[in-house]
Amino acid sequence: MMTNTGNRVTQGQFSFLPDLTDQQITAQVKYALENSWAVGIEYTDDPHPRNTYWEMYGNPMFDLKDPAGILTELHDCRKTFPNHYIRITAFDSTRGWETPRMSYIVNRPPKEPGFGLARQEGDSRAIRYRISSYATDKPEGERY
């Protein structure tokens, strides 16, 4: 965790960069639409790295021509979940199934408490490690 001071969750693309501005998000969405990928918005308040299935905010958006529609939806999502993690994913269907092509976080809680490491002594003194976000000690919806 020393490489990532500030406890920021780093999942997907651009996560080591400063937060993307709306203008930069528009440019990224435009790139996805130009490749005719479907774009979806997902949110969660469980930042565990193995939590790959986030909740979808509305349906994935197919056949859009312009990023404005996705940005509208993103603003709605931010209004509903101001303190959740929100990411934008782009899916490519050229292989006959929807392959994630892009995924980047576009909203994060103001304060990310980071992860705790717990050790468990197992058989033959083997050590098992477990990480969990300090935020997930609280019930869903009250975490951030």
């Binding site: 997907g12 203008q23 998000i25 440019a27 790295p49 056949d63 404005a68 509208t72 994630p100």
Partner: protein
């Protein structure tokens, strides 16, 4: 490292877009290379070719063409004002097209999307044509997502709502059409930069629709009435349609077709250019059967392309 399992291929190309300026600026902002004359804007946007196509391809419709020229002029001048650093509030360009069937409403809407795109008013210039079914849902809570999805698809282009008056059904107070209208109104007002809405339909019913939805009427700046075509214009349309399909009128056939039109105009359900096209299609059928009957005759190109008077006279309007 927490990104190990995010399951995302990370194409280097997509990172490149990060610091590029997002979406080319909608309108040139005060820079020195910006065009300073009407001519420069016209040349840069190549809007004139679209206007010329419109002038050439569409028969009649003088008031419509004039209004489109006015709108184009306003947008060009606004571009110049913006280049000088003057304030140019982007005008509201939502439109209503009313007119009888077959007067060219959809065709013009398609051209309109192209023109607005050339003038940088909309970013993409595609046309999304919908009817009530695409906007209004079947049950409670179905309408809003449906309408929003259509609106999102139309963003950056033109949303064309055909027979818009079906959205409002006063006889059923639980109709979900009203909900779609409210969402439409909200987006038309707040996201004027993102899309242009064109409502189309028959004149009298559109008038009733606007009377019962004053909010809609006041948000639409341009009410365009499509006039019916005159007899002469319809004949010209027939000539062009035939030429486009590689057919031509044989000797005397054009006059017979004029006679056909005069008789057809008096009958009910005349749908202008659409009726002309249908009539031509039926003539092609008759021509084909006529040639078909002559099994062993060697057919020349002229035979295959000529519509004879007899193909027209077989129509039931002459009965």
């Amino acid at each position: 490292m927490l990104d190990a399992d995010s399951g995302v291929t990370n194409p280097a190309t997509s990172v490149a877009g990060t610091d590029a300026p997002a979406a080319e600026p909608k309108k040139g902002g005060g820079d020195l290379d910006a065009p300073q004359t009407v001519d420069a804007v016209l040349r840069e946007s190549q809007v004139e070719t679209v206007m010329a196509d419109l002038e050439r391809d569409l028969v009649g419709l003088a008031p419509i063409k004039q209004r489109i020229r006015d709108i184009a002029a306003l947008l060009v001048i606004d571009r110049l004002r913006l280049n000088m650093g003057l304030q140019a509030q982007s005008p509201s360009l939502h439109m209503s097209f009313s007119g009888n069937p077959g007067t060219g409403k959809t065709t013009v809407a398609m051209r309109m999307a192209e023109i607005l795109h050339r003038l940088n008013y909309v970013r993409r210039g595609h046309l999304v044509a919908v009817t009530r079914d695409d906007l209004v849902g079947q049950y409670i809570g179905h309408t809003a997502p449906k309408t929003k999805e259509v609106l999102k698809k139309a963003m950056g282009g033109v949303l064309f709502i055909d027979e818009a008056y079906y959205l409002y059904r006063p006889e059923n107070e639980r109709d979900y059409g009203q909900e779609a209208i409210e969402i439409l109104l909200q987006v038309m007002e707040n996201q004027r930069d993102d899309l242009v809405v064109i409502l189309a339909g028959y004149k009298d019913r559109m008038d009733t629709f606007f009377q019962s939805n004053p909010g809609m009427s006041s948000r639409i700046a341009h009410h365009l009435d499509f006039p019916d075509y005159s007899h002469e214009e319809l004949r010209e349309i027939a000539d062009r349609l035939l030429a486009a399909m590689n057919y031509r009128f044989g000797e005397g056939a054009r006059e017979v077709f004029g006679d056909y039109l005069a008789r057809r105009l008096k009958l009910p359900h005349f749908a202008n250019a659409r009726s002309v096209r249908n009539a031509l299609d039926r003539m092609r059928l008759r021509q084909a059967s006529r040639l078909f009957a002559d099994r062993y005759r060697e057919l020349t190109e002229a035979d295959l392309t000529t519509i004879e008077p007899s193909d027209i006279l077989a129509s039931r309007v002459f009965g």
